[in-house]
């Protein structure tokens, strides 16, 4: 392994470091597919500090979405615990706002209604909802689309609405499951920049799943590289380049090369598995 790659173990946390917000201990998740038992996650120990931007990186089937869903509370782990601010997670909640790759906007609600929905559930007053929705629409440049239905929006616009919808909740944690995976490269970059801008402004803890190496280097404070089946943590890499990061900088590319090597090892195991499963049929 290259010594210049910094891992969390190498970096001694400063005395004034932010407290741990998400504590994952001994998490294991198994699925039964027919008679086969698939170990999606194994021995996951991970601490995420308040305000950190962490990317989970790996090929398909490495369990990164499973881990995110465990933190979200959608799929409790088979073994181990996930705790947020010291409280064990048992169900989904608005303290961990989720952005899905498929947007998951409610198509029968307009843009403004989608953004307001979580606030209505909270029982906020009408006037407060209106002003908060207005503020979010401005922030995500959606003010001209407030009365549109999701079907009339582009993918990028839909994802802006989804981000506004979880930001409305003002949850301390944002969980993002390949949110920009379905977008074209330019829209993707625009939204990445906006996400960073918002993150720096409101200071949330972000757990972001991606299979794009570049995206993870561009965004994250820390990149957790995961292995393919069983899903374990392969490497925990600290990215301490200043933002905005330049994709053509030598440091960026060095990191990209090293991460590519790690991810490709796992990708190859994934492909071999896929070929095996096809030939077995």
């Amino acid at each position: 392994m290259t010594p210049m790659l910094k891992t969390v173990a190498d970096t001694v946390p400063a005395a004034d470091a932010a407290p741990v917000q998400i504590r994952i201990r001994g998490v294991e998740k198994t699925f039964a597919v027919g008679a086969q038992k698939i170990v999606a996650l194994q021995d996951i120990d991970l601490d995420i500090r308040k305000g950190e931007f962490v990317c989970l990186l790996g090929p398909s089937g490495c369990g990164k979405s499973t881990l995110l869903n465990a933190v979200a509370g959608f799929q409790p782990p088979t073994k181990g615990t996930v705790a947020v601010d010291g409280r064990s997670i048992t169900e989904p909640g608005p303290d961990r706002g989720m952005v899905f790759q498929e947007y998951a906007l409610f198509p029968w609600m307009t843009v403004a209604q989608n953004v307001a929905f979580g606030l209505e559930i909270k029982g906020m007053s009408k006037a407060d909802i209106a002003s908060r929705v207005e503020w979010l629409l401005q922030k995500l440049h959606l003010q001209d689309f407030r009365n549109r239905f999701p079907k009339d929006l582009s993918g990028g616009m839909r994802q802006r609405v989804a981000i506004a919808r979880v930001l409305a909740l003002d949850s301390p944690i944002l969980l993002m499951d390949e949110p920009f995976g379905a977008l074209d490269a330019l829209t993707r970059r625009t939204l990445q920049d906006e996400l960073l801008r918002i993150w720096e402004e409101v200071g949330k803890t972000i757990l972001f799943v991606t299979h794009s190496i570049e995206e993870s280097i561009y965004l994250a404070d820390r990149i957790i590289v995961m292995t393919y089946r069983p899903g374990t943590i392969k490497r925990d890499v600290v990215v301490d380049m200043p933002r905005p990061r330049d994709g053509s900088a030598p440091e960026f590319n060095r990191l990209k090369r090293e991460l590519s090597q790690m991810v490709m090892e796992e990708q190859q195991r994934f492909s071999q598995d896929e070929i095996r499963s096809v030939t077995a049929d």
């Binding site: 909640g93 961990r96 909270k122 079907k151």
Partner: protein, 277 residues
Amino acid sequence: MSQANPRFSPAALLRGALVPVLAVVLWQVLSTSGLINPVVLPSPVAVVERWWAYLLPTEPYDPAQSSWLMWALSGEMLFDAWSSLYRVVLGFAVGAGLALPLGLAMGGNPRIYALFDPLMQVLRPIPPIAYIPLAILWFGLGNPPAVFLIAIGAFFPVLMNTIAGVRHVDGIYLRAARNLGAGKLTMFLRVILPAATPYILAGARIGIGTAFIVVIVSEMIAVNSGLGFRILEAREFMWSDKIIAGMFTIGLLGLAIDIGMNRLNNHLLRWHRGLEN
């Protein structure tokens, strides 16, 4: 729309009118040739005259008796059409009003589904018309048995589609709503119900179609008004022109109901992707 609709261009209108016009001409030739008894096949002209007479008021206008509008609407046909429409709407409201909550409960809760499904499967294949003897025995004559039969006709399509609609709600909406903190009631009213509306409305359309069939049949048996009653009455007098005029009116009312449902559909599903015009 500023552009001319190609469906209504002169050439298209001519093409569309060709077969109906030929059919009416053939009908007129057959009925005036003397080959066919006019009681069996009245001429189209006689039918149109009869339809017009059926539409117009029977009494001469008398300002002392009623306003002009009331008089203009006092014709037999409008009264019949109103009677039929009233029964369809009332019967549909009862049938759909019972089917919707039951369907939501059955679709949303496997236990309730398991409790009710066997009974529904037994009752569903019975055509509403087969309930006629029982309806008369239970409710006598008049509106109650008709409304009962129509309600049965509307009940099952709405029920089956509501169950299917609730079951087919995309899990991603449920997950998103849970993540936003939605409780059971909010989830049901603001997520599951709207997500199921396309299915429910498709069921309502089938249901109102069935209700319209059943209203005509039940009027032939249990009531003394309505379009179904009128064409059966006309047969007793051998007024074949009035029978056909009545059928024509039934068709118009059916078309009006369908257009109304379509409008409602388009309004309620204006958010829906892939909606045509």
